[in-house]
């Protein structure tokens, strides 16, 4: 007798099973569903009498009492780390001589502006926050549109379009402002803040503009199946 194989319908049931066990992201669902399918087929060779559900429960038990949750958490952590490695790589690649000159010029301009009138810091800070919030909101909308089109959630896509949790670090310049509104700001402090702010502008540009614009290329690398699925 030929060994039993997983049908298309059962495959869909396996995807549903991963979703039921809190695996939200398609990339991980596909990997785990394929794993379970292989394991069930192997089990059927030894025990052909088992039903699909019985075999599935026996195989799922092997994942331990936490089921898929550890795998999901570790995957999230791993891809966050990969994102920041990518940011760093991109940062080094944009750090050409003209860009260094631009950063220096920007920091120099802000330093003089702050020294002349220390409340001008508020202007730079608000410029940064307003532009970031606006762009972050646009990216969020774009991400939802993409999700609707593919009907799937991809973890790395979500990280890219939320800019690695950029919303959390966006108010950092606001924190710095505590030092800025005292009378008689020191030259040293003004210089440090200007450099930090200039770097923040570059980071903003990197994660909010440059990297989402290149999303397709990154996603293709992280998920070779990304293109496969789209054309299927």
């Amino acid at each position: 007798m030929e060994a039993k194989k997983i049908t298309q319908q059962q495959m869909e049931a396996l995807f549903a099973f991963t979703r039921k066990h809190y695996v939200e992201y398609y990339d991980l669902q596909a990997e785990l569903a394929d794993h379970l399918a292989n394991a069930i087929e192997e089990r059927w060779q030894a025990e052909p009498g088992l039903t699909f559900d019985e075999a599935l429960q026996l195989e799922f038990k092997k994942f331990g009492i936490f089921g898929f949750s550890d795998i999901v958490a570790e995957r999230q952590y791993a891809l966050q780390k990969r994102y920041y490695r990518l940011v760093w790589k991109e940062f080094r690649s944009v750090l050409t001589f003209p860009v260094i000159l631009f950063i220096t010029g920007l920091a120099w301009g802000m330093y003089h502006s702050i020294m002349a009138y220390h409340h001008s810091y508020a202007f730079f800070m608000f410029l940064l926050i307003v532009v970031s919030s606006w762009k972050l909101w646009r990216l969020k909308k774009e991400y939802h549109k993409r999700r609707k089109e593919t009907g799937r959630k991809w973890l790395f896509e979500e990280i890219l379009f939320s800019c690695g949790g950029f919303g959390v670090i966006m108010p950092v310049p606001l924190q710095l402002s505590h030092f800025m509104f005292d009378e008689g700001i020191s030259q040293m402090l003004a210089a440090i803040v200007s450099v930090l702010l200039a770097l923040f502008f570059v980071y903003d540009y990197m994660v909010l503009f440059r990297m989402p614009a290149r999303a397709e290329r990154y996603l293709q690398k992280v998920y070779p199946e990304y293109g496969l699925e789209k054309t299927a």
């Binding site: 596909a30 550890d70 795998i71 570790e74 995957r75 891809l79 780390k81 070779p224 699925e229």
Partner: protein
């Protein structure tokens, strides 16, 4: 995994060595291969396998290929160039560890403790 504490630290080394020998493999295949080689003595649990693979992938030591097999998406892992280098280092480290343990534990004249 059997005697988990002893094997745990070597999991990534085992994975990389397997990938070096077999070119590319998918998760389930790895668990089966380990079972086969160790005659069922060592059983890599799914809960340990995937996080280890994903971590190696995020570190750039592994890259993935995806193919449709039996109408299912199958994700294969293989060593990158940096993974190959890392594999050599880790194997050397593991061999040294084994040698030292043999000297320490396998030497009947030496008393521990």
């Amino acid at each position: 995994m059997k005697n988990s504490q002893l094997y745990k630290g070597s999991l990534t080394t085992i994975l990389m060595k397997l990938l070096e020998e077999n070119g590319r493999m998918y998760g389930y295949e790895i668990t089966q291969k380990v079972k086969l080689i160790t005659a069922g003595e060592l059983n890599i649990t799914e809960g340990a396998l995937y996080p280890a693979l994903h971590k190696l992938e995020a570190e750039g030591h592994l890259e993935v290929e995806v193919e449709k097999v039996d109408n299912r998406l199958r994700k294969y892992y293989k060593l990158t160039e940096s993974g190959q280098k890392e594999n050599v280092n880790r194997l050397a480290e593991l061999e040294e560890f084994i040698r030292n343990m043999q000297n320490l534990v396998g030497n009947p004249k030496l008393k521990l403790g």
